[in-house]
């Protein structure tokens, strides 16, 4: 086939252009370290890389969030530890103050220490985070959650919203507890029912050892144990307006059973003395601790007063134990959340590695291969240039 002179030029040039293009492309890959420098280099992988990058960034955000949540829950746990100490110390003081060997002055001294513990409890309830927000105020983070009125009653001013932190695409963790849930809404009595002593009682009897013996039979009614005579009592269901047990003989220390509950009366009741049994309700830890201080301050002067004193402190131990239980449960929840976060952080870290590997596989260039390609292409380019010069040298006109 004939070859025109221009073809010789054109072909060599085209070949050199092509090689130069390839060299530049490989050079770009080596310089950027990336196989995909624009979507057109590999559209499918480029779109996939975009998704991976979004996930990676999101995982990093979740990591940051998890760090924040971890720090905040850690702080909550510390504060709850403080609450636990207060309750523990109060319980010790209560046991101490209950001793019959103590005089009124001694009890008042102990009561003063209980009051101090109450102050500590209020301070703990008003704990602030590093950035100054109240951690138990719910979402009303700038509102002081616990304040005391003139009578010393503590009220809760926050709300019941607990902020959640996003620690993975599908998982949110609550970063605290509302003051209502943590310190205010504590069940009183034994958690199911609570006993009371009529203020007008004149006997020396008190009620204690309150247990649920048959939870299936339990009903949430208000009951009254009424002594019609020092040795006879009846049990009235005030909610239903009926008498549950009529004219029972009273034997001190023998449990009185009704509606799945057992309570025991000790001491000598007077005719007309009454004890109430009602479903447990909420009672704040502040009230529980405050009740102890008040009981110790009040003390007793009469045998009937002593019975009331004993009853109040028995009640207080029930309340305190439930408060302790609640704090322990909250700390267990905190621990579980921290575990969750820990697990999630590990999962996030795995996801991050995984996503990075996937992205790298899709996007990153194999440098060794790229450099050897580059060497091959430059060699070919040099050969093409040499060949061009040689061929262009050949002309019949050289010999004319």
């Amino acid at each position: 086939m004939r070859v025109s002179t221009n073809q010789l030029y054109a072909q060599s040039l085209n070949r050199m252009f092509e090689l130069q293009q390839r060299t530049v492309a490989i050079q770009e890959q080596v310089a950027s370290g990336k196989r995909i420098n624009r979507p057109g280099d590999d559209p499918v992988a480029a779109a996939a890389v975009l998704q991976l990058e979004e996930r990676l960034q999101a995982v990093e955000q979740f990591e940051r969030n998890a760090g924040v949540a971890e720090q905040r829950l850690g702080h909550v746990d510390d504060v709850l530890g403080g609450v636990s100490n207060v309750l523990q110390r109060t319980r010790e003081l209560l046991i101490q103050g209950r001793s019959e060997a103590l005089g009124p002055g001694d009890r008042r001294a102990i009561a003063a220490e209980v009051r101090e513990q109450l102050d500590v409890l209020v301070d703990l309830g008003n704990a602030r985070s590093a950035s100054g927000e109240f951690i138990f105020a719910g979402a009303a983070v700038t509102t002081r959650p616990f304040t005391r009125d003139a009578l010393g009653n503590v009220s809760y001013n926050g709300d019941q919203t607990v902020r959640r932190i996003q620690v993975s695409e599908s998982r949110q963790v609550e970063e605290s507890f509302s003051g209502h849930d943590a310190l205010m809404a504590v069940r009183n009595g034994n958690g199911t029912f609570v006993t009371g002593m009529n203020a007008a009682n004149t006997g020396t009897a008190q009620v204690s050892d309150n247990v649920v013996v048959d939870s299936a039979a339990w009903v949430d009614h208000d009951f009254r144990i009424r002594f019609t005579a020092p040795d006879t009592y009846e049990v009235i269901d005030d909610t239903a307006g009926s008498t549950v047990l009529a004219a029972q003989p009273y034997v001190e220390g023998t449990a009185i059973n009704f509606a799945g509950m057992a309570v025991t009366v000790f001491g000598t009741p007077a005719a007309g003395d009454e004890f109430t049994v009602a479903p447990s309700a909420n009672q704040s830890m502040f009230e529980t601790v405050g009740n102890i201080a008040t009981a110790l301050e009040t003390g007793f002067a009469t045998p009937a007063g002593q019975a009331r004193f004993g009853f109040d402190l028995d009640r207080a131990i029930e309340d305190l134990d439930l408060a302790m239980e609640q704090v322990n449960a909250l700390r267990a929840t905190t621990g579980a959340r921290l575990n969750t976060i820990e697990g999630q952080r590990n999962a996030n870290e795995d996801a991050r590695l995984n996503l990075n590997t996937l992205r790298s596989n899709l996007e990153d260039v194999d440098i060794v291969a790229a450099i050897s390609d580059l060497a091959r292409e430059t060699q070919a380019l040099e050969a093409a240039q040499a060949a061009f010069v040689r061929v262009q040298d050949l002309s019949l006109f050289n010999y004319l």
């Binding site: 004939r2 070859v3 085209n14 998704q51 979402a139």
Partner: protein, 627 residues
């Protein structure tokens, strides 16, 4: 005898001279584009019969022909046209490809959602809110920058269309002139081809076909007609019809190509294909405009869906969230001759159905026809509307007349004017609008869930509402009045535009409260919902998240770019082959010409020798007769 030898020698001398001249012509034109090498054909003269036989009378130049093959030329022209189209397309698509590869929009979106995550950790802090607001603003401006880049490409396409049309006009009139030259050429009648004129016309036709796809018709009178893709004549013998670049009557920003007959323009854009112009138009319709619509759609979808969610939240001042973004309404361009008017709005509830396309709406006197320009699918809209189509609501505001036409550009221009609706970080509605509470005096252990918002526009949404349980606690009353409503643990309770669940055991008299969350400045209830939207399938009719929709666009443009490159490589190779085939026949080879030079030089010298031999013979005769 002597005179005939002279004649013969002279004829050889002249023929060789012609040969040398033609070789010189070939050498001189070695670099002339489209030049076909020429060859002189010689012919022995008619011999003279003399008794003993025919006596040769030397040679004549029969003709000078070019070595060209119409088929090869047409093939080359065709492949050059395809290559020119592919090269232009690769260049244009590559610009968008590189644009989208910069991650301008996607990092803007990511930053927005990242700072939303930070704001959710500390919604009460002004600093995090300020950062969120800045990132929202930055996201919006990145969309605007992206659109501005794309608009720059659109303007450059318009300029190139104008330039190409001017180039086409110059070439067609040159072809018409050369047609005349060829037809008037002296040699044509005697069958002698005007080689160089033919080459030049072939070259002009090749240049023309690089600009736009054309076909030629041989008229038989030496002239050719040139037709555009769909058979429009642009060169009729010696007359060229001009094309004009003109603005689209419905969209002045779009340059169209029209056929200009005596000043009357008829638009032929849609019929053009091939060459650079074909590439420009194809790129504009199939890559550029859809990309702009898709970027606009992404901005619109984010803005509207975020607005919708934002309105379900409460800001730092206890006020229900307003729009975070102010979204411009869809652009509607009406034809000047329209009788009726329509208005188009985004259908916020169905914004996930938005398509990345413009629409053409026409009325035929009875019904509307809506054409989605991205895929040219049409639907008939009967009645007076309003019509809900693809996340848009089309309302008729004045009765239409037959022939009315509108161009609807719902999303394309949104990034230009999309703005933040607020600059106050306090106005970010990150909190849930209502909070729930369990009364401290409750005996039962039931808890109330957070409220989810069913209807943020309910006038009583923020009213303090109590749910009080009756005796027996199987029913409850709202605000202690009204009918007793049956309750089951965990069942939905829908009141005043919100929904809660109460789970556990309740006792008679237990009370739950739902009230305005004003003051709940540390709440991130709505912020978390906004955050979750990042991965929710809120686009493509519920099939893709924001980022996935963007990924689809990048994938589509990337594929187009890849295809354009592959096709350009293939067509360049084909065009090289066609060039090689044509050059193998028509191209000048200098070695060959050098050999021809020697050949004709020697023939010339030999012919000269014949003359000198005849001269010597004649001299010998003269000398003989003299003595």
């Amino acid at each position: 005898m002597g005179s005939s030898t002279f004649e013969i020698g002279l004829s050889g001398l002249l023929a060789s001279q012609q040969g040398l001249a033609t070789t010189g012509h070939n050498i001189a034109n070695v670099n002339t584009p489209g030049f076909s090498r020429q060859r002189v054909t010689f012919e022995a003269r008619t011999p003279q019969f003399i008794g003993y036989g025919f006596v040769g009378k030397g040679t004549d130049v029969q003709s000078i022909t070019r070595l060209a093959n119409d088929f090869l030329v047409a093939q080359l022209r065709n492949s050059m046209s395809n290559e020119a189209r592919a090269v232009k397309l690769e260049e244009l698509v590559g610009r968008i490809d590189a644009q989208l590869g910069t991650g301008l929009v996607t990092s803007g979106m990511q930053n927005f959602f990242d700072s939303l995550g930070d704001a959710n950790d500390d919604p009460q802090l002004m600093a995090t809110r300020q950062v969120l607001l800045e990132n929202a603003r930055s996201m919006v401006s990145r969309f605007a920058e992206q659109e501005s880049e794309l608009n720059g490409i659109a303007r450059s396409v318009n300029d190139q269309v104008r330039g190409t049309v001017a180039g086409i006009n110059a070439l067609t009139s040159a072809i018409a002139r050369i047609n005349i030259d060829i037809s008037r050429g002296a040699g044509l009648a005697s069958g002698e081809p005007p080689n160089d004129l033919l080459d030049r016309r072939d070259q002009l036709l090749t240049e023309l076909s690089e600009l736009v796809g054309v076909q030629t018709q041989d008229r038989g009178d030496g002239m050719v007609n040139v037709l555009l893709g769909d058979g429009q004549l642009v060169v009729t013998g010696g007359t060229a019809t001009t094309l004009a670049a003109t603005g689209n009557p419905l969209d002045a920003s779009r340059v169209e190509v029209a056929y200009d007959v005596g000043g009357t323009l008829s638009q032929i854009t849609d019929t053009l294909n091939g060459g650079q112009l074909g590439a420009l138009l194809e790129f504009r319709d199939q890559t550029l405009e859809p990309t702009r619509s898709a970027i606009g759609r992404l901005a619109t979808s984010i803005a509207i869906t975020v607005n919708e969610q934002h309105r379900q939240g409460m800001d730092l001042d206890g006020v229900l969230g307003a729009d975070l973004f102010s979204v411009p309404t869809p652009v509607v361009n009406a034809a000047a001759t329209n009788g009726g008017t329509v208005s188009v709005a985004f259908d916020t509830a169905n914004v996930g159905n938005l398509a990345a396309s413009d629409y053409r709406l026409t009325h035929d006197g009875a019904n509307y026809t809506l054409t989605r320009l991205a895929d040219m699918s049409t639907q008939t809209l009967a009645g007076t509307g309003p019509f809900a189509v693809d996340g848009l609501t089309i309302s008729v505001t004045a009765p239409p007349a037959a022939g009315d036409a509108w161009l609807i550009q719902p999303t394309k221009f949104v990034p230009r004017t999309l703005q933040l609706a607020t600059s106050d970080p306090r106005a970010l509605a990150l909190a849930a609008p209502v909070k729930t509470a369990t009364a401290a005096a409750n005996i039962g252990d039931a808890t109330i869930s957070r409220a989810s918002i069913l209807d943020a526009t309910d006038p009583n949404l923020l009213a303090t509402t109590t749910l009080v349980f009756n005796d027996p606690p199987t029913t409850y009353q709202v605000n202690g009045a009204g009918p007793a409503i049956a309750w089951s643990s965990g069942g939905d309770i829908d009141v005043n535009g919100w929904r809660v669940q109460i789970t556990g055991t309740v006792r008679a008299g237990d009370t739950f409260t739902v009230s305005s969350n004003a003051g709940g400045i540390g709440d991130n209830g709505n912020g978390l919902r906004l955050s979750e939207m990042q991965f929710e399938p809120l686009m493509e009719g519920g099939a893709a998240s924001y980022q996935e929709a963007y990924g689809m666009l990048v994938g589509a443009v990337g594929s187009t770019a890849q295809q354009a490159r592959i096709s350009r490589e293939a067509l360049s190779a084909l065009s090289e082959n066609a060039q090689a085939a044509r050059d193998a026949l028509s191209g000048v080879n200098l070695d060959e010409e050098a050999a021809n030079l020697l050949r004709f030089q020697q023939a010339y010298q030999a012919a000269a020798r014949v003359i000198s031999a005849a001269d010597e013979a004649f001299k010998a005769l003269i000398d003989a007769t003299r003595s």
